[in-house]
């Protein structure tokens, strides 16, 4: 397979050791696991069942032990069956507790999976004590050993089983796309359409259980839980369409595998843990920088909006000063103070001067022609809105200036036209001032 990587890739990733076959297997296994989990995880997150992933990944333990005892080996097929059975059992018990015993749904989940897990621990201690049962392994897996596992069809066994599950998950998604979509969005609607929401639910949980088990050996349960939830949640912050979300979550999963591996090699720490941390970091980045929903972007938008309002206020004020034909010119300092002062006013004014809407000469501010145009539209919006408030909403005269002042920044040409249709602009605003003409 790949013994050497192209030179430029090595240069780009120069701080990393040269990728070898071993490394490739690890990354690929991690990526495959993450993608398999992410595909199913999207629906868990959308259905607000994220913690079922956590629950099932723990609840499968007794099933695994029983399957192992029955089959006498660690063959993956009985383990899958045991896991699937536990997945169904967990789901069934959780639902029943909630429906018939009226236990709140999160508590039922908690009761069921912790009890099953405790049962599993006891079974392990009693019957499997011969096997080396490394506790930490269950959680953190052993990605490091994957490349050295016995090969099936040329692939290391854990990778093979993971790919099988990946393909199965993908197939289910493709075949049942619309059913999954409807039942995740509106269970009742789905049921009335004939797609049993309960069947979808059980199917999903079974897939979760199988994905969990397939990944245990390689990456341990904690990475599985993380990958079921975090890539999907990250994708959710980045887009608004289900198909895109599923695709993005897979991309995030792969990215987490690569980054986690790189960091893990560099720091010489556990790979699965590092991948988990990596996906968390990716989520954090999405929280901050998502184009539509990111916090930093929201902050930036807020500041830009405040600046715009500030600039509008300055322009409108100058226009009104002109209207009143006052002799005393307005100085920059006074103007800034009049609109509230502070760095925002300073910035706003500087921006206006820069963009040629205001001319500042001899400590005197004056509107340029461009500036006047903008100001005129603003004042027009303001006065049209005031008229509208008085005539159609019956607001008293002395109460309309403030609201109009707030809304004027958001009134665009179309809205102005509609306002004009509703009020008689020629008659002037409620304070008797002329409404400046439109284009």
């Amino acid at each position: 397979m790949i013994e050497e990587t192209p030179k430029n890739a090595v240069e780009v990733l120069s701080f990393m050791p040269e990728l070898s076959v071993v490394d490739m297997w690890i990354v690929v296994t991690g990526a495959a696991t993450n993608v398999a989990c992410a595909l199913v995880g999207c629906f868990l997150v959308l259905r607000r069942m994220s913690l079922m992933g956590d629950a099932i990944s723990h609840a499968v333990l007794p099933g695994l032990v029983i399957a192992f005892l029955f089959s006498g080996s660690l063959n993956i097929v009985p383990l899958f069956l045991g896991a699937a059975a536990m997945g169904l059992l967990t789901t069934f018990l959780t639902q029943s507790l909630h429906q018939y015993a009226r236990v709140p749904s999160d508590a039922s989940m908690g009761v069921v999976f912790t009890s099953l897990f405790a049962l599993g621990v006891v079974l392990v201690k009693k019957y499997v004590s011969g096997l080396h049962f490394d506790v930490a392994c269950v959680y953190a897996g052993a990605l490091e050993y994957v490349p050295f596992a016995e090969p099936i069809f040329g692939l290391p066994r854990p990778l093979f089983t993971t790919l099988v599950v990946l393909v199965v998950n993908l197939a289910v998604l493709v075949l049942l796309w619309k059913e999954l979509k409807v039942s995740s969005f509106d269970e009742n609607l789905a049921s009335t359409m004939g797609f049993s929401a309960t069947a979808m639910h059980y199917l999903l949980m079974m897939l979760v259980a199988m994905t969990t088990v397939a990944s245990f050996e390689a990456v341990g349960s904690i990475l599985v839980v993380a990958m079921l939830i975090v890539p999907a949640a990250t994708a959710h912050l980045l887009c608004d369409r289900l198909g895109v979300m599923v695709f993005l979550s897979a991309v995030v999963g792969v990215a987490a595998a690569v980054l986690g591996y790189a960091a893990g090699s560099w720091l010489d720490t556990n790979y699965a843990g590092m991948m988990t941390v990596a996906v968390g970091v990716l989520y954090g980045l999405a929280v901050l920088f998502s184009p539509r929903y990111g916090l930093i972007n929201a902050l930036v938008r807020n500041v830009r909006m405040s600046l715009k309002v500030m600039r509008d206020d300055l322009l409108a004020m100058l226009y009104r000063v002109e209207e009143l034909a006052r002799e005393k010119p307005l100085s920059p300092a006074n103007a800034r103070r009049a609109v509230g002062g502070g760095w925002l006013a300073q910035w706003g004014l500087a921006g206006l001067v820069r963009s040629g809407q205001i001319a500042s000469t001899d400590d005197r501010l004056q509107l340029t022609d461009t500036g006047r145009e903008v100001a005129r539209s603003l004042v027009r919006s303001h006065r049209l809105w005031e008229t509208y408030l008085v005539e159609h909403l019956g607001m008293p005269l002395d109460h309309v200036h403030e609201p109009a002042h707030r809304v004027e920044h958001f009134i665009d040409e179309q809205l102005r036209r509609e306002l004009e249709a509703k009020v008689d602009a020629a008659a002037g605003d409620p304070h008797g001032r002329e409404i400046p003409g439109g284009e």
Binding site: V45, R48, M49, S50, L51, G53, D54, H58, L97, Y100, A101, R102, V103, P104, D106, A107, M109, G110, V111, T114, S115, F117, A118, L119, V121, V122, K125, K126, V135, A136, Y139, A140, I222, L223, V225, A226, L228, I229, V230, A232, A233, H236, L237, G264, L267, D268, T269, N270, A272, G273, M274, M275, T276, V277, V279, G280, Y283, V287, Y293, L295
Partner: protein, 438 residues
């Protein structure tokens, strides 16, 4: 204190832990936050590792403080995510839970490198817990925490109760709902953190939920719920560590708690499954018996005041009873001296007649009410009345009588049962029963 044996220490320790978990867990469960215990247990790991790296030794207090710190950061992270992003609460909890734990696993692998010194024995046990490592000092810590936590709950009982029940109302009264919420979470965090080295991560999560969920089956009063949950937690702790000497201690404690849960689920007096099934069955039985008497009355009505002798066949076709059921009902009626049965004839006794008349009267009162007040059509009334009349409490009956009296349609004498408002025919056979051969 030093004179205590290890197993005694373990029992006291797990009892204290169980009691505390039950109490703080009650608020978590009531608030729909059962799994926050799970999250805290997982999220504590990086804090523990960092504390270890800083201190270089396994000191319970130090590690617990580290765990608490990262637990509180986790709570803050979830709060921020839920408040400021589109991510929903369950996903937020899952994200924080898994990524923090992953960070912990990474730190753990760092610690276990030979180049990092310090006494690492037992750090691994934060994953599964090991009560056998409990020292006397640890016991003091547990006791101290228990006192503080329980005192806080006792002092702030009404505040917590109010905020849990109706947050808007609490806020309108001026209570700092966010602060109180955080206080509840902080108490949860402290208890979780302290319990981790004893029972481990998953099992600590269980101890938060199980006693509270169990206690809920037994009471409807909050303060009793708290006491009961605490007691159940103590019981689970004591029993579990005692019974589970050959099993992993944490798992035994949890399984004991689960057993208590299942027992309560089934056998609790009002909310238990058995109690509800029995109540349902009793109701069905009463309804069948009342139907028998009423049918006897209706069949014999035309010949009143003579008490008719009816053939069992007549009775059976009147309501399409299964033969066995009818037999049992008749046996009950005979035992209660309500009917006399001879060969294939059934006859109401005077007592039986009176009872049957009362029942029929109630039925017809209700039918009349439904027709007149609820505008239900005559041919629907019988079925509707059938379903609800048995559930009518005495107060409602009284009201009905009053209304009919005002309308001038109330018969006075007990035997004076009002005319049936519709044609008395046997009701159409229910679809699932076989049609009788004529």
């Amino acid at each position: 204190m030093d004179g205590l044996s290890l197993s005694e220490k373990v029992m006291i320790g797990t009892a204290l832990l169980g009691g505390m978990s039950g109490v703080v867990g009650s608020f978590a469960v009531l608030r729909g936050r059962s799994l926050v215990g799970d999250m805290l247990a997982h999220a504590a790991l990086p804090g523990v590792c960092l504390a270890f790296l800083l201190m270089g030794t396994r000191n319970l207090l130090g590690l617990s403080l580290g765990a608490l710190a990262s637990g509180l950061v986790a709570i803050a992270a979830v709060t921020v995510i839920v408040r400021w992003t589109r991510t929903k609460e369950d996903a937020a909890i899952g994200i924080v839970l898994s990524t923090f734990f992953g960070a912990g696993v990474v730190l753990l692998s760092v610690i276990q490198k030979p180049s990092v010194g310090g006494n690492k024995a037992g750090l691994n046990l934060y994953l599964f817990g090991e009560p056998a490592n409990m020292l006397t000092g640890d016991l003091f810590l547990l006791a101290g925490v228990a006192v503080v936590v329980l005192l806080t709950v006792a002092m702030l009982f009404k505040e917590f109760q109010l905020v849990c029940f109706d947050t808007d109302f609490a806020q309108s009264q001026g209570w700092p709902t966010l602060g109180l919420d955080l206080a509840m979470m902080a108490a949860l965090a402290v208890v979780t953190v302290v319990g981790l080295p004893i029972v481990g991560v998953i099992l600590m999560a269980a101890m938060i939920i199980l006693p509270a969920a169990t206690a809920r089956f037994w009471t409807n009063r909050l303060h009793i719920l708290l006491l009961l949950a605490g007691a159940l937690g103590v019981a689970a702790g004591l029993l579990g560590s005692h019974l589970g000497r050959n099993f992993p201690a944490g798992a035994s404690i949890v399984l004991t708690a689960t057993a208590l849960f299942v027992v309560s689920l089934l056998f609790a007096p009002q909310r238990g499954v058995v109690a509800r099934v029995v109540a349902e069955w009793r109701l069905r039985r009463r309804i069948s018996r009342e139907h028998l008497l009423r049918s006897l009355y209706e069949l014999g009505e035309p010949r009143l005041p003579l008490v008719a002798e009816l053939r069992v066949e007549q009775l059976r076709t009147y309501r399409y009873w299964k033969p066995k059921l009818l037999e049992r009902l008749l046996q009950w009626a005979v035992a209660g001296e309500l009917v006399k049965v001879a060969e294939n004839q059934v006859q109401l006794t005077p007592l039986g007649l009176r009872r049957a008349a009362e029942l029929t009267r109630t039925h017809r009162l209700w039918e009349t009410y439904l027709m007149q007040q609820a505008n239900i059509a005559a041919d629907h009334v019988d079925r509707d009345a059938d379903e609800t009349e048995h559930l009518l409490p005495a107060a409602v009956l009284l009201e009905l009588e009053q209304q009919l009296e005002e309308a001038g349609r109330l018969p006075r004498a007990i035997a004076d049962v009002p005319q049936s408002p519709h044609e008395l025919e046997p009701p159409p056979p229910k679809p699932k029963r076989k049609k009788p051969q004529s």
